[in-house]
Each structure stands twice: as structure tokens, then as C-alpha cells.
Amino acid sequence: MIIDTTEIETINSFSKLESLKEVYGIIWMLFPILTLVLGITIGVLVIVWLEREISAGIQQRIGPEYAGPLGILQALADGTKLLLKENLIPSTGDTRLFSIGPSIAVISIFLSYSVIPFGDHLVLADLSIGVFFWIAISSIAPVGLLMSGYGSNNKYSFLGGLRAAAQSISYEIPLALCVLSISLRVIRLSNSLSTVDIVEAQSKYGFWGWNLWRQPIGFIVFLISSLAECERLPFDLPEAEEELVAGYQTEYSGIKFGLFYIASYLNLLVSSLFVTVLYLGGWNLSIPYIFVPELFGINKRGKVFGTLIGIFITLAKTYLFLFIPIATRWTLPRLRMDQLLNLGWKFLLPISLGNLLLTTSSQLLSL
């Protein structure tokens, strides 16, 4: 009798285990996503702090000083304040468009993080169309900006939204052409466009194998057009505060403005991460003839340490690269609208097309 009851209990526990397994499965699906979102948020806070301190350094100021040690908590204080601030909605504007706009901008940028490899095969979704997923998703963001500009019922907002749309559309084409000329080689090597394969294709010869040396023109074009996509300073016409009060953000207050603020830095981080992945060799240590596993004897100890090193190298490259856009912001003056469009359509587009032609002709020789 006693044995029977224990058997029943074990059977019951098994059925419980099944349901628990499903729950665990869901949790395991959510866990990487939440980790990524948390990591990205911390990364954005770090960028905001870095930008304020670097800009202070460039202008011989001190920068945030009193919010936490060295002003580290400044971005957190800004965020909390924006969260607790009153949320104003224009009475004659389109309320639905006004509220949806910023969330579309943020979500589309967040989605593009899912194809970024942070370490050795440490990627949320290893899609075979990887980079082009990013290009497709990132062109949704200007729709959000246009919606918010239109929904505000404000002439400055509307002008800013139109400018944002025009700018992103005209700079997306050189960006896509640069990515295309990189992916040609990856297609030949491994027949996919996955970001992981792009990094693996650069893994030989240390940093001499970076795509930066294969595609120097493409790198410069990519740098310029990603700056324009992020609406960073030489191209920050959509929010030019001397002409349009704050562009499409003019009517936004509280956390909705905070979403735009976050979205701009998220965009900066994602384009910098993509520069790392596409041109700077991703998670590889990139010093020729030294391999990470041999250096630290990781093969026996397990993969966790190697993964951590991979993440560290990716982030180090990314944040070192981020110094360039931040320094650019405080160095170069803003372009006019016609200069911006001339640069995009008459200079970057032909050059990136020429770069694509060069790349394809060198592919014929299978270099």
C-alpha cells in the first residue's frame, strides 16, 4: 500500500514537472531577452554619461559632478525626473499619433539589437538575413518620428518630422549599399548574411583581417551615413534648436520625451555595435597569432570565461569607436538642409555604388 501511494506521488510529480518544464521554457525564452534589454539600458546610461563628460572635457568644462561620484548617476536622475514629470498632450493635436510615435521609434531600434552578436555565437536571433533585418527594421523609426511630428499640431514639430524622414530615407541607401558590399564576401564564404558569419569571415589574420582594410571607402561612407541616421550633430537638422525649437520633440514632455532621448542614444549604440560587427571584427581579440583560448587555457575550464572575454572585447571596441561620434558632435558645425541632401544623394550614393562595383569586380577574381 505504501509503495503504491509513493508511486502515485511520483507520477503526480512527473506531471507537475512537465507543466513546470513548460513554465521554465517560457522563462528561458524571456531570460535572454530581459538580460539583453537590461544590458542595453545600462549601456545607454553609460553612453549618456560618457557623452556629457567627454563634451565637458572637449569644452574644458567639468561636466556632471554632484549626482553620484563623478556624476555617474546623472543619466539616472534625468530619467527618473522625466518619468515623474507631468505628461502634456497638445489639445488640438492627434492624440493617438502623438502617443504611438515615440514608442514606434524606440521599439524598432530595440528590435535591431536582436541580431547583434555580443560574443562567440551569443546572439538573440541568428537570422540568415541578419544585417538586412537591421536595415529593414531601422527604416520603421522615421515613420514614428513622422507620426509624432504630425500628431503634435505644431509647425516646428511637423518640419522636424519631415526633415527626419527625408534624412533617414536619403542616407539609408548608401548605408544599405555599404552593407551589401560587405555581405558579398560573406555570401561567397558561407552562403548566409548572418551577423555571426560576418564576424567569422574576419576572424583570420587578427586585425589585418578586418573588413576595415577590405572596405576603407565603405567604412567612411558607413560612418557618415550612420551619423546621419542617428541624427547626430553634423546632421542633427531634425532637432536643430536654433531653427526648429526642438524639431519633432518640441511638444513632448515627461517620459515621452525621455523615450526620444533614449531612442537617439540606442540608435547610436546600435550603429556603433554594427560598425564593430561589420568592420572591426566583432568579438575576436584581433591580435594576430594570439588566440584567446591558448592565452588563458580556457578550453579545459569551460566556455563561460571565453564568452565573457568575447562580450568584453565587443563592448570595448564599441565604446572606443563611440568616441568618434561623440567627438564629432562637439567639433563639426551643422550642415544646411540642401548641403545635407547634396552630400547624401550626389556624393555618398555614387561613392557607395562605386565601392559596390569595385567589390563585385574583385569578387570575380575571388580575392
Binding site: 556629457r52 565637458a56 569644452q59 574644458q60 568644462r61 567639468i62 561636466g63 556632471p64 559632478e65 554632484y66 549626482a67 556624476g71 548617476l73 546623472q74 539616472l76 536622475a77 534625468d78 530619467g79 527618473t80 525626473k81 515623474l84 514629470k85 507631468e86 505628461n87 502634456l88 489639445s91 488640438t92 534648436e241 525649437v245 526642438a246 520633440q249 518640441t250 511638444e251 513632448y252 514632455s253 515627461g254 520625451f257
Partner: protein, 225 residues
């Protein structure tokens, strides 16, 4: 700080892991990112503008100048406010979202300053228009004095209670009015809008000569002066 003055929200529970209250957190976040509106009506703004620069750097206190009143927390009324400027100042203040602070900068915005005796156009003190948190005297105040005012405002914010703030400032929120501009297709018709024009008793019947005579007689004392 006694507990009569700060009744409920400010008390921390002693055996809790979190060593602060929500009230303190919101006060801290507000005082450490006070974004001022880029607003200047005259010479005080020159002193205020030097705070943006490297010598007096108010980014140390987390102040980032914003051009849009929707994102500003603080307005420094830098400079004389005239009767003509007063409505737009009030409108700007109304457009700012709720935890908002005002520093009346300079003698002109406190009492009217040197224009307080015989000016026909100066507002005698900006506190007749909008509620002022900190009065900052000087003509114009030095940048150090502005920093002093900002520290005093930070001190004031740190002692704030969230409930009081809501109770005191939820009233008197106005919608902004629409523009009164009308689209008119042709301006040069010769028929002027009779409501707008000032009409002397019999304007249209006056011949031009008489009009010129009238004008000369009016303008002659100015020529003498």
C-alpha cells in the same frame, strides 16, 4: 527635521532594505536635473549665458538648457520683462510641465529695478505674473550669484513634499489659445479692415491735403525736439 513638519512620506521604515523614500528619490532626481529654459529678455541673459560656458559650467549641477518649454523644469527670467513681453512669459510658464520652478533673476524682475519709478512699460516684478521660487538680486547678478540661486533652489526642492506640490499647483492650468491670424487672399485691395483701423470721426471724407496738413501739425513738435 521634526516629524510634524514632514508627516508621512518622508519617514523611512527602519527595518527595510531600501533606505530611502519615494519622495526623497523624486526630490533628488528633480534637483539634480533641473533643465532651464533658454529664455532671456535683456542684459541678465549675458550673465546667464556665461554659465553655459566653461568658466561657470552649470552642467556640473546637471543643468542642460532646453529650447522647448515642454522639456524645461526651470525658467530664469533673465532681464527686464515689459508689458508687451508679459503675456508670452506667462504663456511660456503655462506651457512648462508640472514640477516647474522660477528664479527671478536681476532687479528688474524682482521690483522693476531702475525702471520701477517712471516707466510706462515695465512689469514691476515678475511675481505679479508667475509664482517665483527664488529671488536673485543684482543688476545684473554675477554668474556666481546665479549658481548660489541654483543651490538655494536645490535646497528648496530637497525639502519638498510631493503631495503639497500637487495640491498647490494643479489649479489654473489654461489651454493655449489659437492664433488669431486670418488667411486673406489679396492684401492690396485698398479696402482696409475697418474694425482694425483707428477711425477719426470722418476719415474717408477727408481730402488728402487736409490730411497732410493734419500730419504736419502733428509732427512739427517732434521736429523741434
Amino acid at each position: 527635521m521634526n516629524s510634524i513638519q514632514f508627516p508621512l512620506l518622508d519617514r523611512t521604515t527602519q527595518n527595510s532594505v531600501i533606505s530611502t523614500t519615494l519622495n526623497d528619490l523624486s526630490n533628488w532626481s528633480r534637483l539634480s536635473s533641473l533643465w532651464p529654459l533658454l529664455y532671456g529678455t535683456s542684459c541678465c541673459f549675458i550673465e546667464f549665458a556665461s554659465l553655459i560656458g566653461s568658466r561657470f559650467d552649470f552642467d556640473r549641477y546637471g543643468l542642460v538648457p532646453r529650447s522647448s518649454p515642454r522639456q524645461a523644469d526651470l525658467i530664469l527670467t533673465a532681464g527686464t520683462v515689459t508689458m508687451k513681453m508679459a503675456p508670452s512669459l506667462v504663456r511660456l510658464y503655462e506651457q512648462m510641465p508640472e514640477p516647474k520652478y522660477v528664479i527671478a533673476m536681476g532687479a528688474c524682475t524682482i521690483t522693476g529695478g531702475m525702471f520701477s519709478t517712471d516707466s510706462y512699460s515695465t512689469v514691476r516684478g515678475v511675481d505679479k505674473l508667475i509664482p517665483v521660487d527664488v529671488y536673485l538680486p543684482g543688476c545684473p547678478p554675477k554668474p556666481e550669484a546665479v549658481i548660489d540661486a541654483i543651490t538655494k533652489l536645490r535646497k528648496k526642492i530637497s525639502r519638498e513634499l510631493y503631495e503639497d506640490r500637487i495640491r498647490s499647483q494643479r489649479a489654473n492650468r489654461c489651454f493655449t489659445t489659437n492664433h488669431k491670424f486670418h488667411v486673406q487672399h489679396s492684401i492690396h485691395t485698398g479696402n482696409y479692415d475697418q474694425r482694425v483701423l483707428y477711425q477719426p470721426p470722418s476719415t474717408s471724407e477727408i481730402p488728402t491735403e487736409i490730411f497732410f496738413k493734419y500730419k504736419n501739425s502733428v509732427s512739427s513738435p517732434e521736429l523741434v525736439n
